[in-house]
């Protein structure tokens, strides 16, 4: 266990360990010491890896697709998001406080954490690299339309853009506008239109395919 080799636990992309950076190497030493001292166990670590891998934007997509087809679910999702998650068997219990921001034809929301990288991880999993980047954290609050433009979303001036800087324990999820022309789609098909980036608010949901 203490030899620094992890082949039986590898889950990600592996580098030869002697090529790792200073801090990358140190986490292996820290991990082994914590195990030796009984501060955490191997099982604790494995549980966290599995917990994280079970979480993905698909959870958010399911919530949104259901909200689009079922008005009473949509109302519950906005009024009590944790209860709505429980109804869909999505475990949101570790979120302290969870708020859903509804986009409309006249209002779009965008979420950032300028101070670090707070993100609704228990629902969506790990944030994308760009969300954690210094450029996004700097620009989201004073140039949200410029950021949206980079993601392909151009909004007219009469649409209000509301940027939320999640500085405290509140975690925000954007409820995108249902795409026009999607009336005939099933919930499963609708969920495919809900991208991770639309749940953060830098873009809208994908357009519905034109009828063939």
């Amino acid at each position: 266990m203490s030899d620094g080799h992890d082949t039986d636990r590898d889950h990600g992309h592996e580098h030869p360990k002697h090529e790792l950076s200073y801090y990358a190497k140190r986490i292996y030493a820290i991990r082994d010491l914590l195990l030796e001292k009984g501060v955490i166990t191997d099982k604790d670590i494995q549980c966290q890896i599995e917990y994280q891998e079970a979480r993905s934007p698909a959870n958010g997509a399911r919530l949104v697709a259901r909200a689009w087809v079922d008005p009473s679910f949509k109302a519950r999702l906005i009024a009590d998001p944790k209860a709505a998650c429980a109804q869909m068997d999505i475990d949101a219990t570790s979120i302290n406080e969870f708020v859903v921001l509804e986009n409309t034809e006249t209002v779009r929301h965008m979420v950032v954490c300028t101070l670090c990288s707070c993100y609704p991880r228990p629902i969506l999993g790990r944030p994308p690299d760009w969300y954690k980047s210094l450029n996004y954290r700097q620009r989201a609050v004073n140039d949200p339309r410029g950021v949206m433009r980079e993601f392909g979303l151009e909004l007219p001036d009469d649409v209000e853009v509301r940027v939320h800087d999640s500085t405290a324990d509140i975690r925000y999820l954007v409820l995108p506008v249902r795409p026009k022309g999607s009336e005939g789609l099933s919930e499963t098909e609708l969920a495919k239109l809900v991208t991770r980036d639309s749940l953060i608010g830098v873009m809208d949901a994908l357009p519905a395919l034109p009828p063939t």
Partner: protein, 83 residues
Amino acid sequence: MTVTFEDRPGHIRTPWYIRGKTGWIECVHGDFLNPETLAFGRDGLPKRTLYLVAFNQADVWGKSASSKDKVLVDIYEHWLTPA
């Protein structure tokens, strides 16, 4: 409400760009343990009330791509004073 303009030391969750700016309370999130003291191993009590405070972009940056645009920040009561 106006956000206190101060460069307090320690672990502060009120971003620099919003200090000294005036906005309005959109909603009350509730009471939470104080991160400023939690960050130093203390128990975070007494809880502080957290507000969602909205600002016109133009008021924060002096300009805005659209006059309708807003920035909203979760701010603790002890950083707010009536404007």
